[in-house]
Every structure is written in structure tokens, then in C-alpha cells.
């Protein structure tokens, strides 16, 4: 197997690949990148950790067909350092890969390409073309509340649903770690029909987010055989979905409230950040006290001292004090982009709802639910 290729596109493909290749895996071949010719003028660059797979098709001049695998990180670093615009890669005896550019020559130890795990075939997937900015926004708004506990399989991912309603398709992402929940709905014109929803694991979502950041204005998304596929230009990412039942989240979103605070978003966010500077160790406990027109944010930490800030807000209910993990409120406020926010409360042990005070026109919404702390 031998081909000649432009350096820049190959480097881009290798960059994605080395991010996925799993150097700590017990299977040595997972640390390698697969290079396999595809017809007379293409090569596929692929890496996988068995759950997440990235493949990039790059134009090249195929001299003889075949494939090889070598260490992804090292090949990336070597190609990056090569002089000139073009290079050649050739398989030699004993699975060695020979890389040549001008007068530079490397021979790298490789493993047979037939041992490389089979790649999910995205040719059978029916793709939907959607706006990447919308997907990116939805991921950002729900990513932080995914459980980081990989043993809690059903919470270690984001629920994705979409009604596939043509130009009026409505997509939804929900995540929860058991203490708080975030839910984001957006119009996703041309979105696929995904119902019932699927659970995209946290680690895979990180890769999707990375791919979306570098993508064009539109990407192709598809769901097939327990995988989600994302395709943009020549790069395709596939992520194995979590086969688990997401909890019935609608039940825990409070529908009514006894108390409503409308507060300026920036002032509230800044105050929470300021006061939590003195909050206790790693659990960020703060207290919110409210009476007519005022919201008081307090923290009391025996090791450090106390902090207090008063905010003028719109509030007409009865006095109440409630404790929260400030981090949970800050995470959600950070993703709300309207000047005013609504904090809807019931009792001091009941879930609190945080959402933009005025939604943008058209369907779509964002909200966060946070459980209080007993301080």
C-alpha cells in the first residue's frame, strides 16, 4: 500500500484521530490510527476507542491499495513537523510504515490493519442536514448537568429527542445528575425524527461538541443501530449511544410556584459568584433569603467568615430562606442569555426552577431545576 498526499488535510484528519485514539487502552491497536485507501484517489484516516469513532476521507494519489495502522499521536507529531507540502506513506515488510517527505524518511512500527476494529458504516445512515450553531448551543446548555459518575449509566449522558417535523422540527436535550436538571428546546429545521429519545454519553458529547466547533454552518446528523453520526465535510464522527432508560424528567419539573422572583441576570450571577467565594469547602453552600423587593444572598463558613449581598428584585411573596449549592445556580444562569431571569420557588425543601424571564419569539425554551440544600 502506498499513497502521496497533501500535508495540510492529512494533518487535520490526524488531529481528530489522535484525540480519539486511546493510548491507555489494554488493546494496543486502539492507540493507532488506521490509514486505508478508498478507491483510486482517497484515503480514510480513522481512530476509535470502541465507543467513539472518527473517520476522515482525504483526497490523495493512490499508488497501490491497502491499509496500515501506526501510533496516532506520533504520526500526527511527525507529519506536523515535516517540511514541504506533500508527503508519501508506504507500507513495508512487517507492518512498518515508511513516511517520506523530501529528504526526510521515517520508518514507524505498525500493526496489521486487518486487526483494527470494524468501523461503523455511515453509508447506510440517513442523514439530516441541520444548523450546527443550534446543536452547539443545545449541547452547551445541557452539558454541565450530566452526571460525571460513569457507573450511573442512565444519567451519564444527555437525552436527545426530535419530532422530525420538517422546517418546524423541534429538538430537545435534557440532562440531570440527580441534583439538578437542565432542559433545552430549540427549533431545528430539517431535524431528524428521534422518538423515543436517545441517550448520548457524556464522553461522546464532548467529541461532538469539539467537532461542531470546527464545522461549517450546517452539519449532517443521523441515528443508526445504536449510534449517532455527525458528518461535516469529509469527517464523520460516530458515538455509541447509552442503552439505558433516562428518568421520567417531566415529573420533576415543577409546574406551579408559590413564589416568583424576577431578577437581573448579570447582577444575580455576579452576586452568586462573589458570595460563593467564601462558601464552605467544595460544596458551595449558600443561603437565599427573600422578602418584599429584596433578595439576600449569604454564605457562612466557619473557616473563612461570612459574606452577604442584597439585590433589588421583583418579589411580592412571603419571607423565606432556602439553601443551594451556588455552583448549580451559576451553571444555569451562565447559559441564560436574557437580561432578566425568573426564579420560581415553592417551599424551602422543594425544587426551584430557573428560566429566562422573556422567551425569544417562536417555539423553544430553556430551564433549569435545582434541588435545595439543607444548611
Amino acid at each position: 500500500m502506498e499513497f502521496k498526499i497533501e500535508k495540510a488535510p492529512l494533518l487535520e484528519g490526524l488531529y481528530y484521530a489522535q484525540g480519539i485514539a486511546d493510548r491507555k487502552a489494554t488493546m494496543p491497536i486502539l492507540a493507532n490510527v488506521l490509514l486505508r485507501t478508498e478507491g483510486p484517489d482517497r484515503v480514510v484516516v480513522a481512530a476509535t476507542d470502541l465507543n467513539i469513532t472518527v473517520t476522515t476521507e482525504i483526497p490523495c494519489e493512490v499508488i497501490s491499495e491497502g491499509g496500515l495502522t501506526v501510533g496516532a499521536k506520533h504520526l500526527h507529531d511527525i507529519v506536523k513537523s515535516l517540511p514541504g507540502e506533500r508527503l508519501g506513506i508506504r507500507r513495508t515488510e512487517n507492518q512498518y510504515a515508511e513516511i517520506t517527505a523530501g529528504k526526510v524518511n521515517y520508518r514507524m512500527v505498525g500493526l496489521a490493519d486487518r486487526d483494527f476494529p470494524r468501523l461503523p458504516n455511515h453509508r447506510e445512515v440517513s442523514f439530516a442536514r441541520v444548523e450546527s450553531a443550534v446543536l452547539r448551543d443545545m449541547v452547551a446548555k445541557t452539558f454541565f448537568s450530566i452526571s460525571t459518575d460513569e457507573t450511573r449509566y442512565h444519567l451519564n449522558g444527555v437525552l436527545f429527542e426530535c419530532d422530525g417535523n420538517g422546517d418546524k422540527a423541534l429538538a430537545r436535550m435534557v440532562s440531570t445528575d440527580g441534583h439538578r436538571l437542565s432542559k433545552c428546546e430549540r427549533l431545528l429545521p430539517g431535524g431528524p425524527r428521534v422518538s423515543p429519545g436517545v441517550l448520548i454519553p457524556r464522553k461522546g458529547l464532548m467529541e461532538l461538541r469539539r467537532a461542531l466547533e470546527g464545522a461549517d454552518t450546517h452539519v449532517e446528523i443521523g441515528f443508526h443501530q445504536g449510534h449517532v453520526f455527525l458528518r461535516s465535510r469529509g469527517t464523520a464522527l460516530s458515538v455509541k449511544l447509552n442503552d439505558a432508560q433516562f428518568p421520567p424528567y417531566e415529573q420533576v419539573i415543577p409546574r406551579e410556584h408559590e413564589r416568583l422572583i424576577v431578577a437581573p441576570r448579570d447582577a444575580l450571577l455576579d452576586a452568586l459568584k462573589r458570595i460563593s467565594l467564601i462558601a464552605s469547602d467544595k460544596t458551595w453552600g449558600i443561603r437565599l433569603s427573600m422578602d418584599k423587593g429584596t433578595l439576600r444572598i449569604e454564605s457562612d463558613n466557619p473557616d473563612l467568615g461570612q459574606g452577604r449581598e442584597e439585590l433589588d428584585v421583583s418579589y411580592g411573596g412571603s419571607d423565606m430562606t432556602i439553601g443551594f449549592n451556588a455552583r448549580y445556580l451559576i451553571d444555569i444562569l451562565g447559559e441564560i442569555d436574557t437580561p432578566q431571569v425568573r426564579l420560581e420557588l415553592n417551599g424551602e425543601l422543594d425544587p426551584a426552577l430557573l428560566r429566562p424571564a422573556e422567551e425569544k419569539p417562536g417555539p423553544g425554551s430553556y430551564l433549569g431545576v435545582v434541588m435545595p440544600m439543607r444548611l
Binding site: T151, G178, H179, K282, T283, P302, M371, M373, R374
Partner: protein
């Protein structure tokens, strides 16, 4: 119905019954060694010689100088349930002997070629009895032997081929036999015990004046870094606890070096083991076990020893009190951390020498005790004064009557706080090495202190003190998705009894009918931390707390979790290796270390300081 005849119920012939019974008591050669030595100790022997051959399968011979038996008694001793140690069932409650069932000798005789030679002080000559596979080979015949008893067991299991097949290699069986002798040796320091295998001497423990010296001598080969053990003693609710502790650096991955002795009897007990480990606290890295000999003494009526065929398990009437007594006694010594003090050939400790009955109080500057290996004399329990330990005095080199370092091992009666120590601030600071270690001179030793570990421990102690101040319930985080749990009946009952305790720990549980509960809130620290040993799953955390509550009547998991959080906080907010510390900063750190209950390990279990003695340095320079 098939025509086969119905199985008939019949009484087993006595030989077979004996063989079956023997299977319970005599598991392997080491069990024979244990049973015979226990008999010797019950007979008041001061010297016991054990010889074994082919790992005990060829020969086991136990010779003692105990009270011996008359001919009539010797014959009776081979009958099942014949014993001199128990006459009425009530005697079980006031049992002071190791044996009581009258099973050992007939069981052993049933599965071997057995010979018993015994003589009392009143008899002119000895009597000899021989039994083969449970059948006497003729009447007793006269023999000549000194006062005492000798039992010879040859060809063990020759008539139980099934058991013989399960025997391990000779080396293993010898090791088991040695372990059996060692366990008895730890409990009975006044008895001279010897074990020989073929011509090789495996163990020779001459009489020792006390348990500490016996433990020191018997476990010398198991001590790796420190050459000494440390004493702990106390009494609580009529439960006397005495222990010889190894430094935390001697910890092993299995509890093989933990010897639990209840009223002189070696036992296996998970709860006692847990108490020992908890006593050491976080000085012991997680999942490690210390080297420790624990003696628990309590009225015989409060322990049921008759629950296990080999008496390896016991039941306590007041298990929680026993647990607490052990944990507190060990905890007190571990907190004082005697292992931080200088040790090694250049140093001599006197531990409680003043309490030695009838002896004048030696001057702290008196002649150091000479001796090799064991340089610690154990705390003596003065017969009149219940467990009053005198202060532990570390004696500095005599040429230099310089600052005397005193600290106390408090017995449970003494509850006043230890006097403020000046240990670290008394050191002469020399400089920083590799921007990581503080080099100090202390008396005649060179002391290296890991600046990161020391600072980390300091901050950890402060955080812990602040957290422990408030007796308010712990903070708890309510769950968005309450977890429904189906508990086992015992656990469900426990939850109902301990609702308040659980609430104080931060768990909110609401009954949901039957054995179902809904978990609505968890301690705030539950969400913090990742990794194999943390439990983010709320149900998992609760399960662990419940297990501990049911087993020990208390739970340390939440406290441990808080400490782990604090340890991480501490770890990230202190000086690191590689940070330059100028002299004022280094001195400030040293004196701050004296202000807290300083434990010489960082919260993750690494040591804070390393000490090189002058003698060690001189030895390396060839000056001695």
C-alpha cells in the same frame, strides 16, 4: 416405587463417629499442635516442646512439664467428653481454661497412631497408653518419664485418605504449625515454647517477663522498618484492653499480622479487626492492616467461646462496648504517635518503668537497659493500681542533658489533655533540600521533613477541628430524583430505629410501605470526589452506612468522606514540593505543627518525616 430398599437409620459405630467428629476439630497438623499445646497450658506447664516431622503428618510430639495425669485419668482422657475442666454447664460461664469439651484427645487418637506418656508429681513412674485409629492397643503399661505429659501423634490421617489428599506441602503445614504456636506464645509470655521441625529449630521463645517483650521477640522477624512495638492499654466498662502496636509503616495488605486474643484465646473477629483499624485512623493507608497484638480481657461470663468447633470465634455479650474500648485504647496511642520519636540502636526508651512492682523508680538519666533487639520494656501493670501508666519518657543521650521530651500514653482514667508538646519547634532548622525537604537537627538525629506533607497535615487538622466544632447536623443535598430502595428486613428495621442518626448524617428516608423507603436527601459531601472508593450513587453510599451501623452501631463512612474532602482541599492549598521556603517560613511551619494534634503522616497516609540517627550516620562513615 423402585424396588430398592429404603435407606435405614442406624447408629454409627463409635470409631466412625469419632472419625467424623475429628474432622471438625482436627483440620490439619497445626490443629493437633494447637489442641495439645492448649492442654499443656491448661495443665500449668512452664515449658512446652513441640517436635514435628514431615510437616506434622509423620510425627507430632508435644512434651510438657505440667501436672500430668494418673493412670485412671489418662484412660478417661481418651474417652469423648471426658474433661477435668468443666463439671457443670454453669462452669462454662466462669471458664478459665482453654479447653473444656473433652474432645481433642479422642478426636486426635481417632485419626492417628497415638501414644500418651504421663506422670504426676505424686507417682513413682509414668504410665504409657497407645491407641491406633481410636482402638487401644492393649492395657496401659508402666514407663519411665519425668513429671508432665508427652503426646506422640504419628501418621496423622493415615485412616482418613480423603483428608490426607487435602494437605498442602510440608512447608505450608510447618508454617501453620508455627503460627499456632506463635498465637499461644503471644498470650502466654511466661511459658517457654519451642517448635522443632526435624532437626531445624523453627521457634524458641524462652519465658518473657511480660507480653510486650514476648511480642517483641516473637514478631521480630515481621518488623521491617521499626525495630520496636508500642504499648497501648486501657480499661473501659470492665473490659481491659492491652495492645502491642507496630508503626503504621509496618502495615500489610492482609490482616495476617493482626493477632486478636480474647481472654488468652486467639480468635478471628471482624468487628475487633475493624476496631483496631479504625483506632489507627487515617494514619493507616486505606485497605491496609497494621501489625498488632491485641489482648482483650473480660469476665469469662461475658464471652461465649462455645460457638466454633476450633474455638476460633467468640460471641460477646456487649459487642459495642468491646468495640469502643478497643478503638479508644488504640486510638489514644495512635494519636500520640510514639513512632514519630527517634528509634534505632542509638535510643533507649523506658516505658512506664516506674510502675514495675517493688522496684525503685529509676532516674530518667539512669543506666540504659542493655539488651539486643527488643529495647522496649512493656508497661507493667501494677497489681494495686489499675492500669495507671506512668509517662513515657524518651531518654536523650546522656552526654547531653538537653530538652527532655515527654509525652504521655494516657490510660482511660486519665482524661486531661496531653501537655502542649514542643517537638518540631525545638528542632534546629538547617535548611531546605531540593526545595522539597526541610532539613533539621533534633537532639542527635538528622530529621528530614516533607514540606508538602507536613503543611497538608497541618491544614487538614485545622479544617477538621473547625468542622468538628459544630454539633449541628451535617448539610444535606436534596435529590431531584428520589431513589426508591427495597431494603432487607434487618436493614429496614435499622432504618426505622436509626432515622434520627441517619438524618444527622444527612440522609433523609421516608417509609414507602413495607420494606420500601424513598431516599430524598444525601450528605452534601456525597457528590464530591470521584474514583474507585467514592460513592456517588446515593443508594450505594447509604448501603455502606447501613452496613456499618448494623455491624458496629456507628458509621464512619460519612465522616471518612468529609475527611477525604478536607484532605483534598488541604492538599491543594498548601506549599508544594519545589516551592522555596525561606527560613522564617520554614520555622513558622515547624512551630505551627506543634499547635495541632500532629500525626506524622499526611492525610493520604504518606509519612511526614524521616529520621536518621547519629549512630546510623556514624556507622556509614565507619566511625563506630
Amino acid at each position: 416405587m423402585p424396588s430398592q430398599s429404603r435407606p435405614r437409620i442406624a447408629v454409627l459405630p463409635p470409631e466412625l463417629a469419632n472419625q467424623i467428629a475429628a474432622g471438625e476439630v482436627v483440620e490439619r497438623p497445626a490443629s493437633v499442635v494447637k489442641e495439645l499445646c492448649e492442654n499443656s497450658i491448661d495443665a500449668g506447664a512452664r515449658r512446652i516442646e513441640v517436635e514435628i516431622d514431615r510437616g506434622g503428618l509423620g510425627l507430632i510430639r508435644v512434651t510438657d512439664d505440667g501436672c500430668g495425669m494418673t493412670e485412671e485419668e489418662a484412660q478417661l482422657s481418651l474417652l469423648r467428653h471426658a474433661t477435668s475442666k468443666l463439671h457443670r454447664i454453669e462452669d462454662l460461664l466462669s471458664l478459665h481454661s482453654l479447653g473444656f469439651r473433652g474432645e481433642a484427645l479422642p478426636s486426635i487418637a481417632a485419626v492417628s497412631r497415638f501414644r500418651l506418656v504421663t506422670r504426676t508429681a505424686l507417682d513413682e513412674g509414668a504410665v504409657c497408653l497407645e491407641v491406633e485409629g481410636g482402638r487401644p492397643c492393649g492395657p496401659p503399661r508402666p514407663a519411665s518419664a519425668p513429671v508432665g505429659t508427652q503426646v506422640e501423634v504419628r501418621d496423622l490421617f493415615y485412616n482418613v485418605p480423603a483428608r490426607l489428599k487435602f494437605m498442602k506441602g510440608q512447608a505450608t503445614e510447618i508454617a501453620h504449625a508455627a503460627e499456632a504456636v506463635l498465637r499461644l506464645a503471644l498470650a502466654y509470655p511466661e511459658v517457654h515454647l519451642r517448635l522443632r521441625s526435624g532437626t531445624r529449630e523453627v521457634l524458641d521463645l524462652p519465658p518473657h517477663p511480660d507480653r510486650m517483650e514476648r511480642a517483641q521477640a516473637a514478631l521480630r522477624t515481621r518488623l521491617r522498618e521499626h525495630t520496636t512495638l508500642y504499648a497501648a492499654a486501657g480499661e473501659q466498662d470492665g473490659i481491659r484492653v492491652e495492645a502491642q502496636l507496630g508503626a503504621p509503616s509496618e502495615a500489610t495488605a492482609t490482616p495476617r499480622n493482626v493477632f486478636l486474643l480474647v481472654n488468652g484465646r486467639f480468635v478471628r473477629d471482624r468487628s475487633l479487626l475493624h476496631a483496631v483499624v479504625t483506632g489507627y485512623g487515617e494514619q493507616l493507608p486505606e485497605g491496609r492492616y497494621p501489625l498488632c497484638v491485641l489482648h482483650v480481657t473480660l469476665p469469662p461470663g461475658e464471652v461465649d467461646v462455645n460457638v466454633h468447633p476450633q474455638k476460633l470465634e467468640v460471641r460477646f455479650q456487649r459487642p459495642h462496648e468491646v468495640y469502643a474500648a478497643v478503638r479508644h485504647t488504640i486510638g489514644r496511642t495512635a494519636l500520640a504517635a510514639p513512632w514519630i520519636l527517634p528509634q534505632g540502636p542509638a535510643r533507649v526508651y523506658h516505658l512506664g518503668a516506674a510502675a514495675r512492682a517493688g522496684e525503685p523508680v529509676p532516674s530518667p538519666y539512669g543506666e540504659p537497659r542493655s539488651g539486643h533487639g527488643a529495647q522496649v520494656s512493656a508497661p507493667q501493670i501494677h497489681p494495686g493500681v489499675e492500669h495507671q501508666l506512668s509517662p513515657v519518657v524518651m531518654e536523650p543521650d546522656r552526654r547531653c542533658p538537653q530538652p527532655m521530651l515527654r509525652f504521655q500514653v494516657l490510660s482511660s482514667e486519665q482524661s486531661e489533655p496531653a501537655p502542649p508538646r514542643r517537638f518540631f519547634s525545638a528542632m534546629n532548622y538547617l535548611g531546605q533540600f531540593q526545595r522539597t525537604y526541610l532539613v533539621c537537627e533534633h537532639e542527635h538525629d538528622l530529621v528530614l521533613i516533607d514540606q508538602h506533607a507536613a503543611h497538608e497535615r497541618l491544614l487538614f487538622e485545622r479544617l477538621r477541628a473547625a468542622r468538628a466544632d459544630g454539633s449541628a447536623p451535617l448539610r444535606s443535598q436534596r435529590l431531584l430524583l428520589p431513589v426508591q430502595l427495597e431494603l432487607e428486613p434487618a436493614q429496614a428495621a435499622l432504618v426505622q430505629e436509626e432515622t434520627e442518626t441517619l438524618a444527622r448524617l444527612g440522609f433523609e428516608l421516608v417509609p414507602f410501605g413495607g420494606r420500601s423507603f424513598v431516599l430524598q436527601a444525601v450528605p452534601d459531601v456525597a457528590a464530591f470526589g470521584r474514583g474507585a472508593r467514592t460513592y456517588q450513587d446515593p443508594a450505594n453510599l447509604l448501603q455502606r452506612v447501613l452496613d456499618e451501623l448494623s455491624e458496629h452501631g456507628r458509621s464512619e463512612t460519612v465522616q471518612a468522606r468529609i475527611e477525604r474532602v478536607l484532605a483534598t482541599v488541604a492538599c491543594h492549598s498548601v506549599v508544594r514540593a519545589g516551592d522555596v521556603l525561606d527560613e522564617p517560613k520554614a520555622r513558622a511551619l515547624l512551630s505551627a505543627m506543634d499547635e495541632v494534634d500532629f500525626v506524622p503522616h499526611c492525610p493520604h497516609g504518606r509519612p511526614v518525616l524521616v529520621r536518621l540517627s547519629l549512630a546510623e550516620i556514624e556507622r556509614r562513615f565507619g566511625r563506630t
